[in-house]
Symmetry: C2
Subunit: 198 residues, 2 copies
């Protein structure tokens, strides 16, 4: 990108490795960083280093956390009888932002994907089963509504049901604020299937 | 974004300050960095720090550079009689990638913009004039083809012409590979004005 400064080229290459950032964006970001004050740029660099140093996993729910047990697992005001199972920490963060859930989380660390060689042993499923030995009332499966996420949900429900624990799946349907006209037929089918009485 | 880990929140905030990266992208990048190995993440952090430590400005052309004079100014194979004037280092990099130019650069550090309070003294115009005292054959003005860039080009041409130096402006017209049907009328006017005989 810029022959005369190897460090500029190096930064652009590093940024281009991030998801959603192509060569052009990486180049633009690099020139932006060059224009920043040294302190501002160092703040970004330090934030990256800090996050890798401080953040680990909660050994209860396997969510990312600076402490163990994490903020959520150690919060006594939350409902410890409901566990929401998600694929990733980012999904847990999204669920936590939504109103209406004050239970615990369990982060699988992905979803079943035989094509990518990811089986039950690669996910925190055994650890979930151990948690279910405690007094759990309901497991809400909030894996993604795609093929792998659905397969993972079905797999988990078959494991958990025999333990006499209520297992639910988050609803699939039309996103709030969307337009029926532009919805895909799979989503519409799910919205029909999941219809509820007034 | 993620209440339980302050450092995660901090990194997302830092990334969201970069151009073109909103809250959602920043959050996605943060979770990506969390998934990277520590070494990979440190490589990015170090690249940011390195670029701020090593890269300065060439005191001849004011382009970003790790050395002074820069790679281009100290390259004897380049044509020292032609100077291409650009707004920013990123523009110089773009011009340098294009075929057909092997002259020198002069980076103004912006363009005239009275509304933003940027006048001639805020740009490296005096420094350009000093360079023109040497044996210069042609000055190619390659400021952006927008209002401020055009104003800057006209301003510079009026300063330089009396010095008996050839002043040219890069052509404005249809981008290669584009479609005439979708071109805006200002671009089409410029393309007509700049037409050349076969």
């Amino acid at each position: 990108m810029f022959k005369s400064a190897a460090s500029v080229e190096r930064l652009a290459n590093q940024l281009a490795r991030l998801p959603g950032i192509g060569r052009k964006s990486a180049s633009r970001l690099t020139f932006h960083i060059l224009k920043m004050s040294k302190d501002e740029a160092n703040d970004i660099a330090e934030a990256i280093k800090e996050v890798k140093e401080k953040v680990g996993f909660c050994t209860t729910c396997y969510n990312i956390s600076e402490s163990d047990p994490c903020f959520i697992c150690s919060d006594d005001r939350r409902n410890k009888e409901i566990i929401c199972v998600v694929e990733d920490s980012s999904d847990a963060a999204a669920m936590d932002r939504a109103e209406g859930f004050d239970g615990m989380f369990h982060v699988l660390g992905g979803c079943l994907s035989p094509l990518d060689g990811i089986g039950p042993d690669d996910l925190k499923i055994k650890e979930l089963m151990t948690r279910l030995k405690d007094d759990i009332e309901e497991v809400i499966i909030a894996t993604n509504p795609d093929v792998e996420g659905e397969a993972t949900a079905v797999y988990l429900s078959k494991l958990i049901k025999p333990m006499n624990i209520k297992v639910t799946r988050i609803a699939r349907g039309l996103p709030v604020g969307s337009d029926l006209e532009y919805a895909d037929s799979a989503t519409l089918s799910r919205a029909l299937e999941g219809r509820q009485e007034f």
